[in-house]
């Protein structure tokens, strides 16, 4: 080895690591700024000082309720479910080496959503029971889609097509449940169709926060193994990745994140699907995309929720805004892979 090559390798690695950290910092700053904006603006404007006092637990007339009970849980929810959707989505996309293999395309989100509506409307479940039911359903759908597409290994394309079919079936379950729910008001119905943060409260934030704190680190610890899987199953296995174990752990953790988030906010359209590719575009495919995709997801949900609330004269749920963003990208992906001669 020549010393110039070694120097170049070291310099290149340090430069890429710096760039990665810088981008993460920029994303984090944008998230904090966006969160601050969502806390300050609304029907009444509160200055940053008031908000800071509320966060510290002091009583500020007016702000304590509006910010502390309405805006703060809503913003926290946006941040947390964004992370969950982003990390869960990019896990599937990376593992299956296909941007279309995101949990919101292949039926996992639909499964959690269908179970949540079934639980609330027909089985009269509440709170944590709904979350647990949604998670079990999410895992079951993941298992079904995986098993149905298994034939001498899992092919991403087959899995995506089967997942789309399952998703359509599950979405009809959700629609059916909603049509039966008589006293259901429009906002709550919309939550289960497109995802919404309306009326988010602390007791809804807590379970998904706990899920993130438990499952997030599990996933991050497997980040490097997951990036190895991009090289193909054989290459990753030959580099010492325990394929079966890694696959099992990351699927359970990612489905858990997606299902908890779906149980809390509904299936916020396309956040899981969009975050990974955006993060890949920003960060490149050199390192793990888990945290970058999580941060992108958070920012997406925060911005989309703010836009949905205040950019138009009518208030739209966050999922409508992300849906409008996501659909063109879906079309673009399909057109591009078609041009490249891919089968999907």
């Amino acid at each position: 080895m020549t010393t110039t090559t070694l120097q170049a390798v070291t310099r290149g690695r340090v430069r890429r690591a710096l760039r990665r950290r810088l981008l993460m910092a920029v994303l984090a700053v944008l998230i904090v700024a966006m969160a601050a904006i969502s806390l300050m603006f609304g029907q009444t404007y509160y200055p940053p000082a008031d908000i800071w006092h509320v966060i510290l637990g002091e009583t500020v007339p007016g702000a304590s309720f509006t910010v502390g009970e309405l805006r703060l849980p809503r913003t926290a929810m946006a941040l947390i479910v964004g992370l969950c959707f982003g990390m869960g989505g990019v896990t599937f996309q990376t593992m299956l080496r296909n941007p279309l293999a995101s949990p919101d395309i292949i039926g996992i989100t639909s499964g959690a959503s269908a179970a949540a509506t079934l639980g609330i409307v027909t089985l009269k479940l509440t709170g944590a029971e709904v979350s647990v039911f949604a998670i079990v359903a999410g895992l079951a759908v993941a298992l079904i889609v995986y098993t149905l597409s298994f034939k001498d290994g899992v092919a991403g394309t087959r899995l995506v097509l089967i997942g789309i079919g399952i998703a359509a079936m599950l979405d009809s379950v959700t629609s059916y449940q909603l049509s039966r729910a008589g006293q259901w008001d429009l906002q709550q119905a919309l939550r289960w169709l497109t995802g919404s943060l309306n009326g988010a409260s602390w007791h809804e934030v807590v379970p998904v926060l706990i899920a993130l704190l438990v499952l997030g680190p599990v996933l991050l610890a497997r980040g490097r193994d997951l990036t190895m899987m991009q090289l193909g199953d054989d290459a990753a296995g030959a580099l010492g990745v325990r394929m079966e174990r890694t696959r099992l752990v990351v699927i359970v953790a990612a489905v858990g994140l997606i299902a908890f988030a779906t149980a809390a906010s509904g299936p916020i359209a396309f956040v899981a699907f969009l975050s990974g590719p955006i993060a890949a575009r920003l960060f490149g495919n050199g390192g793990s995309l888990l945290l970058p995709a999580g941060l992108v997801g958070s920012l997406l949900v925060l911005v989309a929720d703010f836009v949905g609330q205040f950019a138009f004269d009518h208030r739209y749920p966050v999922g409508v805004v992300t849906g409008v963003l996501g659909a063109p990208y879906l079309i673009y992906l399909i057109v591009r892979t078609n041009r490249a001669g891919g089968s999907l």
């Binding site: 080895m1 020549t2 090559t5 070694l6 170049a8 390798v9 070291t10 290149g12 690695r13 890429r16 080496r97 001498d152 610890a221 490097r224 990036t227 190895m228 991009q230 090289l231 193909g232 199953d233 054989d234 290459a235 296995g237 030959a238 580099l239 010492g240 990745v241 325990r242 890949a280 490149g284 495919n285 050199g286 390192g287």
Partner: protein, 267 residues
Amino acid sequence: MTASHTLDVEQLTLGYKDRAVIESLDLVVPPGRITAIVGANACGKSTLLRSMSRLLAPRTGHVLLDGREVHRMPPKELARTLGLLPQSPVAPEGITVADLVSRGRHPHQRMLARWSIQDDAAVAAALDATSTADLADRAVDELSGGQRQRVWIAMALAQQTDVLLLDEPTTFLDVSHQVEVLDLLTDLNRSRGTTIVMVLHDLNLAARYADHLIALADGKLHAAGTPGEVLTEDCVRAVFGLESRIINDPTSDKPLMLPLGRHHVTA
């Protein structure tokens, strides 16, 4: 790096579902030499390599590295001694050469450990050995087929294993790049004593570059030995179902196979 490892296959039977691909195979890979495995399409060559690197569990029999069963070794420990370059690995979209080659360091890294100077040194050595240092910052997608194959080999070299298995490393390359890759592997074998086992399609290049030739037919060992011993007209007929003439290659003193088809044969 020069420690020679033994790699033995004993009574190995491999298969997918109800189909047996390899049956009761016994093999000895000579340490520190270049071994080429040849055989007709679908005769189990790739399956054998996958099993030798722990990716496919045997139905019966064993694969032994230094007397230890590879399927019972911790995957990362095995991957520090034995590497495999599969036939068609996938380069993530937009990944740079340096990042891809760096992934070869995976078995040497603990779960959350930091990147070390040894890792950098291994990557730099791999880039130099494969003449890809100039490409380090380029995206792998932009490279030509020959360059890309050199980069994949660099990734396998960064793994710093004493045994390297390669599944058809020359496929899809034009003849000059095929020779380039085989020369590179020979350099590696001579300078570091790396044991190399590769599946090759081209019989003549296999005979030229391998010290040891293994011919498989229908999942069984047909012949093993030096190219001179193995590459005979009978062997080509038995393994490929092809009539041929074997002559002495004047440039290398190795056997050279000339296929006899139904047309254009004058003598």
